[in-house]
């Protein structure tokens, strides 16, 4: 991890921070959390625009911050894309990028700036001022400027790339396009990249790993799939958008552990980490809820079949969001279906349906009083 970025930040005011993260060279780490969770503050601390009360920040084997040491932003090799891009309105696209190359001779600045702009697909727009560029083009200039700063001319790994909600101000079509471009471009970048976002889909699309931040605290780190489908506790589960949250008790018979829930026995995909008799909280991801055929007959091989009544069905684009109420417990359960499936099964409020909870999609979490 000598070439990567590592940061531990602690303070109680003005924004509470209790966070630690690491990002290896070539890795993209997403800093995810609701607004006000301290994501931007963490990023600004890494950039040197803000000084945390305590902690340590190191990058590429160089210490940027620790007790008694605060390296100013100018001396950290940080390429930063700001939320509103912060392009300088009086400079052309080329001069904005050249600003990050100020230490080079003038001719070298121009040559290098043009190269970075070309890599960001901005050929021909070098002399435009930010006011004459679209939002997406401005974002590309900002990215080119950040890369010019973070990556040395010889292509050697050196700094870190920080992206503060870089797609938030774009319309959806442009956002998708630029996200895909970044996904492609980042594979050629030999430096750590930290992306701040509140969008879980964006994290899933772009990040190798993510850190979930809440009230300045890093709650869980891991691959996005892992954090999103296997949250460490019920609070995290709620933060990442799970609604199918329940409580139950682990029961075990001869190595065949199962979950006791509302008087019924649910199969589990793998042996739980909890001993029989332990109370747990658990979730089932929406994609782990299957709608069973209407002419369904009970079979031994079925996974956790349940009877329910449709409470609401809302079509969102190609999918229908279905809210169920379980027949015997009156607990809510939600999942989504392709529109044509919903139509074929005549999913409408009041309809009786049967669903199956896939054993693999059931995830157990430690017991907590509040449930998050």
């Amino acid at each position: 991890m000598a070439e990567g970025l590592s940061a531990t930040l602690r303070q109680s005011a003005p924004v509470k921070l209790d966070c630690s993260l690491a990002c290896a060279a070539g890795e993209l780490l997403a800093l995810v959390g609701p607004s006000g969770s301290g994501k931007t503050t963490v990023l600004r601390c890494i950039a040197g625009l803000q000084r945390p009360a305590q902690g340590r920040i190191a990058c590429g084997g160089e210490v940027w911050f620790e007790r008694g040491l605060f390296m100013p932003a100018q001396r950290r090799r940080v390429g930063m894309v700001f939320q509103e891009y912060s392009l300088l309105p009086h400079l052309s696209a080329e001069d904005n990028v050249a600003l990050a190359l100020w230490h080079l001779p003038r001719l070298e600045q121009r040559r290098s700036a043009r190269q970075w702009l070309a890599r960001a697909h901005l050929e021909g727009l070098e002399q435009r001022r930010p006011g004459q560029l679209s939002g997406g083009q401005q974002q590309r200039v900002a990215l080119a400027r950040a890369l010019a700063r973070a990556i040395r001319g010889d292509g050697q790994a050196s700094g870190v790339l920080l992206l503060d909600e870089p797609f938030a101000a774009l319309d959806q079509a442009t956002r998708r396009k630029l996200q895909q471009e970044l996904a492609k471009l980042r594979r050629e970048l030999p430096i750590p990249i930290v992306l701040v976002t509140h969008d879980l889909d964006e994290a899933r699309l772009l990040a190798d790993r993510m850190v979930l931040l809440h009230h300045g605290q890093s709650l869980q780190q891991g691959a996005p799939e892992e954090v999103l489908s296997r949250p460490a506790d019920a609070r995290i589960a709620r933060l990442v958008g799970h609604t199918n949250l329940f409580e139950g008790e682990v029961i075990g018979e001869a190595g065949q552990a199962a979950l006791l829930w509302q008087g019924r026995r649910l199969k589990l995909g793998q042996a739980p980490r909890y001993r029989p008799g332990t109370r747990v909280r658990w979730l089932v991801a929406p994609e782990g809820v299957l709608l069973l055929r209407r002419d369904w007959q009970p079979r031994e091989s079925d996974e956790n079949p349940l009877a329910a009544v449709v409470e609401d069905a809302i079509s969102l684009g190609a999918f229908t969001q279905v809210g169920l109420r379980l027949e015997d417990s009156a607990l809510p359960l939600s999942f989504s279906l392709p529109n044509h499936v919903a139509r074929r099964h005549e999913i409408a409020p009041g309809a009786a349906v049967r669903v199956s909870l896939l054993a693999d999609a059931i995830h157990l979490m430690p017991w907590s009083e509040s449930g998050g």
């Binding site: 040197g48 700001f82 600003l99 100020w102």
Partner: protein, 222 residues
């Protein structure tokens, strides 16, 4: 036409503008960007010349710069010249009564620079000094331009303070505004009229060109 009075007015205006500009930039940045105890009081103090009668300001300056004051005394000991009734003293007075005219537009200019623009420069590795030249001054340029024109034009037209501190000494402290007063007192309507017309023309040209330039900058950054 009193050409020496016009020359003196232009010289005073040029020196005032030249010296006041860096001072105002230095003062305007913390006033625009920092919060500190006593900021409101400092702003009020700096704005005082806007509202005080020039005679009141001139009266205090006469005392502050006079031979009995430490400032006047020290200056005389250092240079062998007095501050009152001299061009030097006129310049000091001019710097003080023009401070709000230079400071306020510049402060508004810096106020309008988003913090993120400066932060972008810092993360690009620009030192505070380089950031001042490459980012802050170009972005605050309309404010600087207003300050230059207002200071220059206002110095040309100042009467009360100049009369109090400088008196009316030909080629030393007699500015155009005072020369006009002299002409009127001497019932020389024609002399007064030509000098007044010239002052109107210069002031109008200055402000008109300021508006023109400001509009051009607005288009550039738009």
């Amino acid at each position: 036409m009193d050409w020496s009075a016009l020359g003196l007015s232009l010289k005073l205006a040029a020196w005032t503008t030249l010296l006041l500009l860096p001072l105002a930039v230095l003062l305007a940045r913390p006033l625009a960007w920092s919060r500190f105890a006593g900021k409101g009081l400092l702003e009020a103090l700096v704005a005082l010349p806007l509202v005080l009668p020039p005679t009141v300001l001139g009266f205090y300056l006469l005392y502050a710069l006079g031979g009995n004051s430490w400032l006047g005394h020290g200056y005389a000991a250092l240079t062998g010249r007095t501050l009152v009734f001299s061009f030097d003293g006129l310049l000091v007075a001019s710097l003080i009564f023009n401070l709000p005219f230079a400071l306020q537009p510049i402060q508004r200019g810096f106020d309008a620079i988003p913090r993120a623009a400066r932060e972008a420069a810092w993360t690009c590795g620009l030192s505070p000094w380089r950031t001042l030249w490459r980012v802050e001054l170009p972005l605050a340029w309309p404010g600087l331009l207003s300050a230059i024109v207002l200071t220059f034009a206002h110095t040309l037209g100042e009467f009360g303070v100049v009369l109090m501190v400088g008196g009316n000494i030909s080629s030393e402290t007699r500015t155009v505004a005072i020369a006009i007063y002299d002409r009127v007192q001497a019932l020389d309507q024609e002399g007064a009229a030509s000098m007044s017309a010239l002052l109107v023309a210069i002031s109008f040209a200055a402000i008109a060109s300021l508006n023109l330039l400001t509009r051009r900058i607005g288009r550039r950054d738009g």
